[in-house]
Amino acid sequence: MTAPRTLYDKIWDDHVAHQAEDGTCLLYIDRHLVHEVTSPQAFEGLRMTGRTVRAPEKTIAVPDHNVPTTAGRDVHIDNEESRIQVDALDKNARDFKINYYPVSDIRQGIVHIVGPEQGWTLPGMTVVCGDSHTATHGAFGALAHGIGTSEVEHVLATQTLIQKKSKNMKVEITGSLRPGVTAKDITLSVIGAIGTAGGTGYVIEYCGQAIRELSMEGRMTVCNMAIEGGARAGLIAPDETTFAYVMGRPHAPKAAQWEAALAYWKTLYTDEGAHFDKVITLKGEDIAPVVTWGTSPEDVLPITGTVPAATDFTGGKVEAAQRSLDYMGLTPGQKLTDIKIDTVFIGSCTNGRIEDLRAAAAILKGKKVAPGMRAMVVPGSGLVRAQAEEEGLAQIFIDAGFEWRLAGCSMCLAMNPDQLSPGERCAATSNRNFEGRQGRGGRTHLLSPAMAAAAAVTGHLTDVREMMAETV
């Protein structure tokens, strides 16, 4: 009998193409997602060495990071450098004959939203992309992680990666979430608990009742931020929720292949008694709607809390906390709900899916954003956008005073024209609150879509549960 294995162990074992004596492996890659910012140098490398793309049919390209999210972008992109990158992707996709969704295609969107939506991402696969939030795809029980540009070139040329196995970490969320608490609050709370380096060297498997009760959208939100906890990847074992989501997607298996795939997918779970090197348990009931106060995703507090002082911390974190407080322009002891907001950004690969837009629209229905508020919704893909329009969500956002944009990364990293100015303060559903992330000098508070919508209405960080009570 073989020893009990974790989900990670199983996927790993099924993808080792070669193992050297020192344990270095060539891991076979089933899906390689490519975008315009981290790939040009990799394709250039192929051309310079006369190499080719080994498996173009397993490679999928989509521009997302620096495309404008306003009309007309399929005709012309003003920013010259962005245009050169998008044109380069266009040329590389065509020259190397890889699957491609240009901005003119309704299926275009953020790479981590497009992959699952089109059925490219399936349980048990290995998925990589030159982007750290590739962890998103782990929601399907796929081993998915970000890689650098040299590795992008390596995968293009060989369809493998040189890897050593990570350790196993289990994050269990027991019980159910309380009303007003979402997948975003789970994932931020986990990072708050383990710190941004807490998962370094590990692959995290998220499990427990609260995880099982999440939709695929919610599971993607949770896995998406595994990287902010330092982990190489985040995983959730596939179940009926997963299979129902995958079924019928354009690139999902059909008919007899579907049955064969399903039989295999049902073997993808952690065996009873399998070893985890680290275990973290949070109670679902204890998780509150949270926000970040600082410039690291680990700077997480329940919305009912107050801004900490640097002296509340120890070691190197004291200086970092002081730097955060100065940068964020916050005073220790200040109530989080007293922090005024001038910009709201709903979108990104963390929270740019249909369920996220529904949650925000539910709060916004019949309300208006606070005076002077700049509020923007950037759907994660053209298809999410179309669906939101069909469901009447777009109209709710527009009536409330939000801008209704085209799909892309947008203000998540502000490489396109959507940026904060120095001192501007944004409630954002994205995943990074680093200094300058959303524009030089811009200040970012991370939170869930419902919390972002609530802040848009009141003009300050707000406990969405109070607003929910109001609407009942």
Binding site: D14, T24, Y28, G148, A197, G201, G316, M415
Partner: protein
């Protein structure tokens, strides 16, 4: 890729924890399709004011550290995005080695692909190296990859761990892709087996 065998150079102290990739190279400089030329924008928002003036307090702007080849940093250096522009910018500036208690995973990998050696040391050793690096330009630290040691300006020597495969590649300046392509038969074999086991992939 440039070989890395042994360097003796000035080390810049950066005790801040969680120095992220947006600090190392802000995203406005990622709009390039080249690997080179990023050194001038290394740590851009910490190094320069909005109108491009040098911020004198920033360590790499101080005369002693302008030619630093080593950075001694606080915990969790390189966290954040997968951008290989971060090691490209470090390398272009002239940094060949970063020493910290911990690194973010992708950044750590990316360093090796570009001839930069990231070294993980226990907190008490990083503390000693940080102190040594504060002495300025005359206090040069020696990093010897062959023997896996870091030696301070006053001769204290500390061993470090490094993966044997990565060490081999760095010492010889080897190209990963070339090495992997030598194993093409294994990859072909894997693809054949996988096609029968998981034909839907």
């Amino acid at each position: 890729m440039d070989k890395f065998t042994k360097i003796t150079g000035v080390a810049a102290p950066m005790p801040l924890v969680n120095i992220d990739t947006d600090m190392i190279i802000p995203k406005q400089f990622l709009k390039t399709i080249k690997r080179s030329g990023l050194g001038k924008n290394l740590f851009d928002e910490m190094r320069f004011t909005q109108d491009g003036q040098e911020i004198p307090e920033f360590v790499l702007n101080q005369p002693a550290y302008r030619n630093a080849e080593i950075i001694v940093a606080g915990d969790n250096f390189g966290c954040g995005s997968s951008r290989e522009h971060a090691p490209w910018a470090l390398l272009d500036f002239g940094i060949r080695c970063v020493i910290s208690t911990s690194f973010a995973d992708i950044f750590y990998n990316n360093c090796f692909k570009n001839g930069i050696l990231p070294i993980v040391m226990p907190p008490e050793v990083v503390e000693v190296l940080m102190e040594d690096s504060r002495k300025g330009a005359n206090a040069r630290i020696t990093v010897d990859l062959e023997n896996q040691t870091v030696t301070t300006s006053d001769g204290q020597s500390f061993p470090f761990e490094v993966d044997s495969f990565r060490k081999h590649c760095l010492l010889n300046g080897l190209d990963d892709i070339g090495l992997t392509l030598e194993k093409a038969a294994s990859i072909d074999g894997f693809e054949k087996t996988a096609a029968t086991l998981r034909p839907w992939v």
